[in-house]
Amino acid sequence: VTSWQAFQDAVRAWALLATGLSLAVWENEPRPRTPEAFVVLSWVSAVRPGVDELVYDFDPDTLDPLAEMVPTVRGPRVYVLQLAVESYSQAASANGRQYLERASVRVRWPRAVATLAAENAALASLGPARGADYPADQRMVSRWLCEARINATAAETDSAGAIGRIATVAVSSDVDDVDGTELPRPPLNFEDEVMP
């Protein structure tokens, strides 16, 4: 995960593929007015289970030799996503539970796995489907929920913080013989000799 926007877009595409629905909204987006079932996505929690690491990547194409090493901090993340399918229809072919039960197997489709993998993420587990209707506008809204646990790697690259590296070393020496005279240069004394 380097761009939250791209990650959310990938999660939305993954949710549509898994449920087989044609509409998925994040909970703070405008809600559709549609007779079709749709899934509402919301984040339950984001956990950082470990310590993030700092790595330097070598960029051989940069023109400035003092900016060849680009630092990136990256670390593991566990995101818990709530999938809430709302539907008017209670038919077994169109209610929320049906979509979530389908999702429980479709999440392992290679296409679904690849959708998350493109964002350095993968599904760890998908919880059971639970009915959780709620009241709104003097009616009950039919809703089925489940939770997806997604393991991901978050990374941020600091391009402006690039530094150089020690590529070669030039050595000069000034060693005298026992009688006080300087040893020949070269081969016994070095004069700006470049070491690889």
């Binding site: 909970e27 339950v44 506008d137 809204v141």
Partner: protein, 140 residues
């Protein structure tokens, strides 16, 4: 002829009993009990539990976002809860606390974390977050 056998187990029997009890007890944390079933004073006829569900899972059609205070705490504090469980087992094994008291200590801590997270309007929902210790497969 009479014989008397005195069994000095230095607390082994009590230790076995306590460790067995720890395995048989379950800690439940959440919104339940009489406070949960009371009507909420400014939630349009909903009970405190129903309002708690609306906050935990959200109510998109009513414009209320999901604001998890139970699942999010259990996810984010999972490492600390595991550490408390390990500490509790060690304390019971050393007979510093009973199994029941060890679970009460965990319950109070977790309830405190959940109360910090819950959206507060009147405090009724916050006060309804509670815990109890039950015997596995039975009532408390």
């Amino acid at each position: 002829v009479s014989a008397r056998v005195t069994d000095r187990d230095n607390g082994l029997a009590a230790l076995r009993r306590d460790l067995g009890t720890l395995g048989a007890l379950r800690l439940r944390v959440g919104v339940f009990g009489s406070r949960a079933n009371a009507p909420h004073e400014n939630a349009g006829g909903m009970t405190v539990l129903e309002l708690g569900l609306v906050h935990e899972f959200g109510a998109p059609a009513a414009g209320i976002p999901q604001h998890s205070y139970i699942r999010a705490v259990l996810d984010e504090r999972a490492g600390e809860i595991r550490a408390m469980q390990r500490a509790a087992a060690a304390d019971v094994a050393r007979q510093r606390v009973t199994a029941f008291a060890a679970l009460v200590r965990i319950g109070e801590t977790v309830v405190g974390w959940m109360r910090e997270r819950v959206p507060v309007q009147s405090g009724q929902l916050r006060d309804a977050i509670t815990f109890n210790v039950v015997r596995a497969g039975g009532a408390s």
